[in-house]
Subunit: 265 residues, 2 copies
C-alpha cells in the first residue's frame, strides 16, 4: 500500500531491483490480479509475502452482515495461505450505525475470533489484531490500544491470534512498550509496521501517514522495543499518503528503502 | 468557545435569557474585552465563570520560550482570579520542532507545574491538566490520557493541580473510567466537559467536534462516571466546530442547551 500506484508486476520488479526481500500485500490488488497468479508472480521473483492485509470488520450486529463478514474473513485466510504468508492482519471495524457501545463491539470481535481462529490455524495462518490510532475508534477500528488488542488475543492460542504493532498507531501511548513486552512474552507479535506521524492531518485522517523520518516518531526506539520482546520477523513499511501516491512509484519505493536504512537499526 | 461567533455581552445576554447559570471563558476574548470589564459584565449578570481556558504550552526547551510560557501562565492565573473562577484549564503543549521525545516533553510539564502550582494556589486557582485526544500528541498536547495527566498531577497537592475530563478526548479509552475514579478519590476532577465524536474529521482535526447527541459518545455514561467519582461541579459544553460557528450564535446556544437537557441526566 506504500506504493499503491504500482501494479503487482511493477512492484515485484521494483522490489527485486532494490533488493527488498519481502512484501506485505493487500487483498484488493491481489484479487484483481488473481490470487494464484499473484502467488506465482511473487514466488517466482523470490519474494516473501510478509503479511496479507486485511481481514476484520467484525463488529456488525445484523446477523446477515455478520455472516458475510465471517465468510469474507475465511476467504482472506484462504488467500493468505495461497500467497504463502502465515499472517493475516485484522482491522477490527468501527461502531455499527447509531451504536455508542464500544464494549459491545469489542466483545463481538472476540466472538468472531472464536470462529475464525481455529479456521486460520487449520490453514497455517495467524490472525494479527491491529490496534488502530484512537482517531479511528468510531468508524474503522474499536480496538485502539495494544492493551485492548492483547486482552482480546489472550483468549485464544498465540498460534491463532496475535497483534500487529504499527508505530503510527501506538507511538503516543506510554504504556505501549510494556504491552509490547507482554505480547512478546506470549509470542503474539505477529508483525511490526512502520509509518511516521506528520501533521496537519488531512480531512478524514486516512491518507496522511508520514514518510519514514519525516515525523515525530523515534522509529529506532520502537524497533528496539519489539526486538527486546523477541521479535525477529519482517519490518514492514506502510504509508498511506495521497501526496506520495501522486508521484512516481519506483522512486517512492527507492526513497522509502533509503529512509528505512537510515532510520532503523 | 461553543458559540465563538457571539461577543461577550451577547453571550452573557443569551445565557441569561436561556437560564444557563455558568460559562467557561477563553482568554483571548476576555483580554480583548478587558479582564476587569469582563469580570464585571459576567458578575452583574449573575453568571458563574466555571473555568478559564487556557494556560499551558509548557513543553519548550529554549530557555527564553520557557520563561515566556511561565510568565504567560502566571498572567492566566491572575486573569482567572480576577474573573472569579477557581479553575484554569491547561493544554500542555506539543513536541518542540524537531523533537521526538515525548517523555522529555512530559517531564518539562512537571517542572513547570512545580513553579506554577504554588503561584496558582496563592491566587485561589487550581490548574486542571487536560489530556487531549492522542491525535493532538505531536502538535498540541503530549498529555494524551487521563492516566498520564494524573501521573503528572499526583506530584502536587490536589488544591494546586488536577485534571479536566473531556468526553471528546477520552471516550475511546477503556481505562478512563478507572482513571476517573482515581482522580475523584484524590479530589482532582477540576472540571468536566462534553463534546460528541463525529466523523469524518476535518483537515487539521481541530474544529470538528460534534454537537451533543450527534456522535458516538454515550455522554450520560461518562457523566455517571464522574458523578460516581464524587464530582459535583459544573458540566461544560465545549464544541469547536466551523460549521456550527458559521450559523447564528443565539440559536446555537439554545440548541446546545436543549441537547444538554436531552443527553445528560
Amino acid at each position: 500500500m506504500t506504493v499503491k500506484q504500482l501494479s503487482l508486476p511493477e512492484l515485484v520488479d521494483a522490489c527485486r531491483d532494490l533488493g527488498v526481500p519481502g512484501v506485505g500485500l493487500w487483498r484488493e490488488p491481489v484479487q484483481a490480479y488473481g490470487v494464484e497468479a499473484a502467488a506465482k508472480l511473487v514466488r517466482d521473483a523470490g519474494l516473501t509475502v510478509t503479511t496479507l492485509c486485511r481481514g476484520g470488520f467484525l463488529t456488525a450486529i445484523d446477523p446477515a452482515e455478520r455472516a458475510a463478514a465471517l465468510a469474507d474473513n475465511r476467504r482472506a485466510v484462504d488467500e493468505a495461505a495461497t500467497l504463502g504468508t502465515d499472517t493475516l492482519v485484522l482491522v477490527s471495524g468501527g461502531l455499527p450505525a447509531g451504536s455508542k457501545d464500544l464494549r459491545g463491539a469489542r466483545e463481538r470481535i472476540a466472538d468472531a475470533l472464536a470462529e475464525l481462529g481455529p479456521y486460520a490455524e487449520e490453514h497455517g495462518v495467524r490472525l494479527a489484531i491491529e490496534p488502530l490510532h484512537p482517531m479511528y475508534a468510531s468508524d474503522r477500528c474499536v480496538v485502539s490500544t495494544l492493551a485492548q488488542a492483547l486482552d482480546l488475543a489472550e483468549r485464544f492460542p498465540a498460534r491463532q491470534v496475535g497483534v500487529t504493532v504499527d508505530t503510527y498507531h501506538v507511538w503516543w501511548d506510554d504504556t505501549a512498550p510494556a504491552q509490547i513486552a507482554r505480547a512478546g512474552a506470549q509470542d503474539r507479535i505477529h508483525t511490526f509496521q512502520l509509518a511516521d506521524w506528520t501533521t496537519p492531518l488531512p480531512e478524514g485522517v486516512l491518507n496522511g501517514r508520514g514518510q519514514i523520518g519525516d515525523g515525530s516518531i523515534d522509529l529506532r526506539e520502537w524497533q528496539g522495543h519489539v526486538e527486546a520482546a523477541g521479535y525477529t520477523g519482517a519490518i514492514e513499511v506502510e504509508l498511506f499518503n495521497d501526496v506520495l501516491w501522486a508521484g512516481d512509484g519506483r522512486e517512492l519505493l527507492a526513497e522509502t528503502a533509503r529512509r528505512f536504512v537510515e532510520h532503523t537499526a
